[in-house]
Structures are given as structure tokens and as C-alpha cells.
């Protein structure tokens, strides 16, 4: 294919790019901003320290607007369509949240100001800490982690620090089910601990016998997702917790699936010691094309002193006339800071607005409708798409994207064909333990009509898979670009559109 393409290019046959690079727009001397002249005497610049050139675009403001608006048209997004993306919870991002995060009193405060001058921000954070504690049943919360993966990292570092503080440095193993998110083992390795993977049983639950086998005094803890990554409430969660606690380990809950848990069960009541939230999943902060996220951690009394900091605390209770005075404090045995300052504050503002809109009963309704939507789609696809676990699911479920009578059709082909029906594909090939997995999560914000339209597309594709499989193999047909050559991308690395011209520049 690569050689063909080179020939095509030589013959001038390659189609033009969808949108020029910003570097290919504009003209020398053009500029997109209007800056003031200096209003102070000019100081002498240190000539020997200056760079000679700076290769940035030279474009007008309108060039830039049109470029990025045209690029935006090449994107799929929640605002344009449905993302049934298992384990990612792509729910509607309320516009209110964006306005709140942009209030000057939130957007234009400096993280190193005297805490006395940002009491509104600290009050908001303190309240959010207490809400997240209540939803999880945990004792204390740190808002510092910048993403779910960082929340996990905080959790595992806390577990490690806890054992070290108890003189149990030999506890170095973290047990992770084979159905886990890749972040779980990656996090464990980053913390310098060892991953012990255990298999799932035929029902997709943790294999309890295998779990007992690996449990010993070298176990630091276990990471598990609830409901699990197959979208199912683990049948033996209490036994699992008891086995791990019985051998002296701590239980970590990956909170990726909290959209199935609000007002259904509190992780602390299930026996977990520590968990993280993904505010960009459960609490509607936008995904932003991949970030920023936010991953607060919640812990019980065993780990409260180990939280990453600083956290917001009440320094002075105040009185009837005086509000409390909030401050930033480092927990006694804190694992330390995970990032500069105090967390992704702008995301905290959005999550605060979201929870304030719903309240407790509302959040419970969120979960119920998320689970209702998932089960509805599951019930409607049943019998057409193979399902490894045929039972009521949580907020997501897994089916398989292949059939004995549709040779050569894979989950990937179904996913790509869904794009032609204007849907984002479900999560593919995860969890790894299900062949040709399609992990489907509709979220509560999709209406019955939206769920129905998705089901109709899935049913139509199942039929096409038998009748006209090439439609799937060659899909997508209606997207801005077709399938891309990722082998070429990895072999002939082009990561930057300009050569670095002058090493002395």
C-alpha cells in the first residue's frame, strides 16, 4: 500500500488534504492579535541570549477562526451525536457548567493568593469534598488528582505508604483481575509494586479460589472496578473484600463506573478502603478531546492521613455572624503532592454545579436511568449479538462483534460501519477477556428515541454482515477520512510538520 501511495503522489493523484495545516495558511508579516506598544522605557535586551528565529504561523484572527471551526467540523462529539462508549461515560455536558467555570471570581484567581482572599473558592472545594465523601461513604477526600489515572496512582501510593508506616514493607503485591482497565497494572508498576493478575470465572466474576491462592502476607491490596468492566455487579464482592482484608491487604475501588453506583451502594459500605472518581465521567465535566479530566480520591479512616495534599480544611469554625475560615493543609502522613497547586479547579467548579443541580435523589435517578438505558439496549440486541453473560447489567454491557455465519467480520468492522450511521462506535476489544468485545454504555442522558435509533443501526449492521460484508470491511464510507494507515504512522514517524531548521536559533 505504501508504495502505491508514493506512486499516487508522484502522479499527483492523492486527494487534497481536508484542511491545510495552520502553517500553510496566512502570509509573511500577518498577525492575529493586536498588542499595545510598551508604556515603559524599553530596557536593553541581552543580545547574546536571544533566539534568532521563531517559526510560528503568520495568520490573521479570521484565518485562525475559520481554520479551527473547519477542523471542529471534522470531529464527532456529544453535542453532535451519541457515544455508546463503555467504561467512558460520555454523558451530556451541561452548558451551565461552562459558564460557572468562566466566572471571573473562579477563572481569574491565582493559586498562590493568600487563602483568606479566596474563601469562596475554598468553600466550594470544601463542600465538594464533603459531597464526594457522602456519595462514597468515605471519611475524607482529596481533590488533587488531575485525572482518574492519577487518582489510582494516589490510591496505590497511599496503600504502599500505609503498609510502610505499619512496618510491613514486604507487602509489595497488588492483585488485579484480568478484566481490569490497563491503568490498574500500569499504576501499580509506577508505584514500584508488583502486579498479580487473577482470572475471571465463567460468569465474568473474580475467581475466588484463585484469589485465595494468591492471598498472603505479601499482598498490599487489590484493585477492582465496581460494577466490573463487564458492566456487572460482582456477585461476591463481600467475599472478595473479606479475603483481601483477611490477609492484611487494602481494597481499592476503580471508580470509572460510579455512574452505576450513586445511591445504589456506597463503596465504603462494600468494604473498600480507597477509591477514585472520574469527574469527567460521572459528574459531566467535558472530555475535551482527551482532557483535562479530574480524579479525586476518597478514603476511609485508615488512609485519611495519607491523602495527597493540600486538601481544604476548616481552620476556624466561625460563628453565627462569621463564616468559617477555610485553609489548605497537608495531611499528617501525606504521600505528597501529585501536581502543582490543588487539582483541576475548573473541573471541580463544573462538577459542583452538576451535583448542585441534582442533589442526592437526583443523582440516584441518574444512576437508575443509566442502568435502565443499558438494560434496554441489551434486551433489544439480545439474540442478534452474542452476549457472553446473559443477565441484567449495570450501566454498560458487553456483547461480541462476530458471528459463525459471517466469516471475516470483526468487532472493528461493526464499529467502523456504525460511523456511517452517524454513531460513535462502542469501546472495542475491551475488556480483553471477551473475544471481539463491544462494550456499550448509553448513559442516562440519551432518550429512548436515541437508544432505539442506535439499536436499529446495530440490527441493520448485523444483517449487512451476512448480506454484504464488504460494506463493513470497507467502512466507514461517510466520514471525512477513511480508515487510516497506522502502520505507516508508526514506521515513518512524522510528529511535527516543520524541520527544526537552525540548531543555533
Amino acid at each position: 500500500m505504501t508504495i502505491d501511495l508514493i506512486l499516487q503522489k508522484k502522479n499527483g493523484e492523492a486527494p487534497p488534504p481536508l484542511e491545510p495545516l495552520i502553517y500553510d495558511l496566512g502570509a509573511p508579516g500577518r498577525i492575529g492579535v493586536n498588542l499595545p506598544d510598551p508604556d515603559v522605557p524599553e530596557a536593553e535586551l541581552p543580545a547574546d541570549l536571544l533566539r534568532a528565529t521563531l517559526d510560528l504561523p503568520e495568520v490573521s484572527e479570521m484565518d485562525v477562526v475559520r481554520h479551527f471551526v473547519r477542523l471542529s467540523h471534522l470531529n464527532y462529539s456529544i453535542d453532535t451525536g451519541f457515544y455508546p462508549l463503555g467504561s467512558c461515560t460520555m454523558k451530556y455536558n451541561p452548558k451551565l457548567n461552562e459558564d460557572m467555570a468562566r466566572l471571573p471570581g473562579f477563572a481569574e484567581i491565582h493559586p498562590l493568593q493568600d487563602p483568606a482572599s479566596v474563601q469562596g473558592a475554598l468553600a466550594m472545594m470544601y463542600t465538594l469534598q464533603s459531597w464526594l465523601a457522602e456519595i462514597s461513604g468515605m471519611q475524607a477526600v482529596s481533590l488533587q488528582p488531575a485525572a482518574g489515572a492519577q487518582g489510582e496512582f494516589a490510591g496505590i501510593l497511599m496503600i504502599r505508604a500505609y503498609h510502610l508506616a505499619n512496618g510491613e514493607a514486604h507487602r509489595t503485591k497488588i492483585i488485579v483481575p484480568d478484566s481490569a482497565h490497563g491503568t490498574n497494572p500500569a499504576t501499580t508498576a509506577m508505584a514500584g509494586l508488583e502486579v498479580v493478575e487473577i482470572p475471571s470465572d465463567a460468569n465474568g466474576d473474580v475467581d475466588l479460589d484463585k484469589l485465595r491462592e494468591v492471598c498472603g502476607e505479601d499482598v498490599a491490596g487489590m484493585m477492582i472496578t465496581v460494577p466490573n468492566t463487564l458492566g456487572v455487579f460482582e456477585a461476591h464482592i463481600k467475599e472478595i473484600v473479606d479475603i483481601i482484608h483477611g490477609c492484611g491487604g487494602l481494597m481499592y475501588m476503580d471508580g470509572a463506573n460510579m455512574n452505576a453506583m450513586m445511591g445504589v451502594a456506597k463503596p465504603a459500605d462494600l468494604g473498600f478502603d480507597v477509591m477514585h472518581y472520574n469527574l469527567h465521567k460521572t459528574f459531566s465535566t467535558p472530555h475535551g478531546g482527551g482532557g483535562p479530566g479530574s480524579g479525586p480520591v476518597a478514603v476511609n479512616e485508615k488512609l485519611a492521613d495519607f491523602l495527597p495534599g493540600p486538601i481544604v480544611t476548616i481552620i476556624d469554625e466561625g460563628s453565627d455572624e462569621e463564616p468559617p475560615l477555610y485553609g489548605l493543609t497537608m495531611p499528617d502522613k501525606s504521600i505528597g503532592r501529585l501536581k502543582a497547586f490543588y487539582g483541576n479547579f475548573g473541573m471541580l467548579v463544573r462538577a459542583f454545579a452538576y451535583i448542585a443541580v441534582y442533589g442526592g435523589a437526583g443523582l440516584h435517578a441518574v444512576t437508575k436511568h443509566a442502568v435502565l438505558n443499558a438494560n434496554y439496549i441489551r434486551a433489544r440486541l439480545k439474540g442478534v449479538y452474542p452476549m457472553p453473560f446473559d443477565r441484567i447489567c449495570g450501566h454498560e454491557f458487553v456483547c461480541e462483534g462476530h458471528w459463525p455465519d459471517a466469516e471475516g467480520i470483526h468487532a472493528l468492522d461493526i464499529s467502523k460501519r456504525l460511523m456511517d450511521y452517524d454513531f460513535h462506535p462502542p469501546t472495542n476489544y475491551f475488556p480483553l477477556i471477551v473475544p471481539e468485545a463491544l462494550l456499550i454504555e448509553p448513559t442516562e442522558t440519551e432518550s429512548k428515541e436515541a437508544c432505539d435509533a442506535f439499536v436499529e443501526a446495530m440490527l441493520a449492521i448485523a444483517q449487512e454482515a451476512r448480506e454484504n460484508p464488504d460494506l463493513l470491511h470497507d467502512a466507514p464510507h461517510k466520514t471525512p477520512v477513511g480508515r487510516v494507515d497506522d502502520v505507516r504512522a508508526a514506521k515513518q514517524l512524522v510528529l511535527c510538520c516543520r524541520p527544526v531548521l537552525d540548531p543555533e536559533a
Partner: protein
């Protein structure tokens, strides 16, 4: 029926490495079955001449677009040659896994290391069983 091949005189590991002894040195690479499973190989991270390898331990990483696999030494020894052509043309592992796609050549430290390895027929059976 599988459309991958084995090399008659080589020995094999269950992890899909082959080793072919030539005098007191041996060449090591990935099997045809393994390259087929990995699909297009885009990068190989190779060790350096003079490094020592230990039987059963990873000495290199092979990357396709969607996976990265460690390559384990079938026997212990000292590296006497590295196939640096793979830096620019990692696809040689796909096109010629037993020839131009060889990865390292070692001086064996213990010929007994080869005793528990599979022969071509046994390896073919092992690979076949995994489909």
C-alpha cells in the same frame, strides 16, 4: 491449515522464539507464527553487542501497531552480533523471520540450555493448538 512455517534445524521456545546453532554461536529470532500473530512489525528495540542474555529473560521488544511483545532468550550467552538492519526495516521479521529477520547472535554459555527446547515438529504442534 496454518500458513506459517518452521525452520527444520532450529529449536523453539513456547514463547515463539527460535534458536539456530551454528558452531559455538547461535542466531535467535521470532517464529513465523509469532510474526503472523503480531501483524505488521513497526519497531524493534534491540540490545547491544557485548550485552549478556539470560535464558528466559527478555532481551528485546517487538512492536506492532497494536501490541508490543518482549522477546525472551531461548538460551544464555553473550551477544556477538545484532541485526541492525531491523532498525530501518523491522518488516523483515514479517517477510523473512528465519532469514533476514534474525535478531541477535550469541555465544552460548551453556549448550545444555538447548535441551528442554522444542524441535520443529513439537513447536508446530504447540502453535497449531493455539490457532
Amino acid at each position: 491449515m496454518a500458513d506459517w512455517k518452521t525452520l527444520e534445524n532450529a529449536k523453539y521456545t513456547e514463547n515463539d522464539e527460535w534458536i539456530l546453532v551454528e558452531g559455538d554461536t547461535a542466531k535467535i529470532g521470532l517464529t513465523d507464527y509469532a510474526q503472523d500473530q503480531l501483524s505488521d512489525i513497526v519497531f524493534v528495540d534491540l540490545p547491544e553487542v557485548g550485552d549478556s542474555v539470560t535464558k528466559g529473560e527478555a532481551f528485546a521488544t517487538v512492536e506492532s501497531v497494536k501490541a508490543a511483545s518482549d522477546v525472551y532468550a531461548p538460551a544464555s550467552g553473550t551477544i556477538v552480533a545484532v541485526n541492525s538492519a531491523l532498525d530501518d526495516a523491522p518488516e523483515q521479521i514479517n517477510s523473512d523471520p528465519y532469514g533476514a529477520g534474525w535478531m541477535i547472535q550469541i555465544k552460548l554459555s551453556d549448550p545444555n540450555d538447548l535441551k528442554d527446547l522444542l524441535d520443529a515438529a513439537a513447536y508446530a504442534k504447540h502453535a497449531e493448538a493455539r490457532g
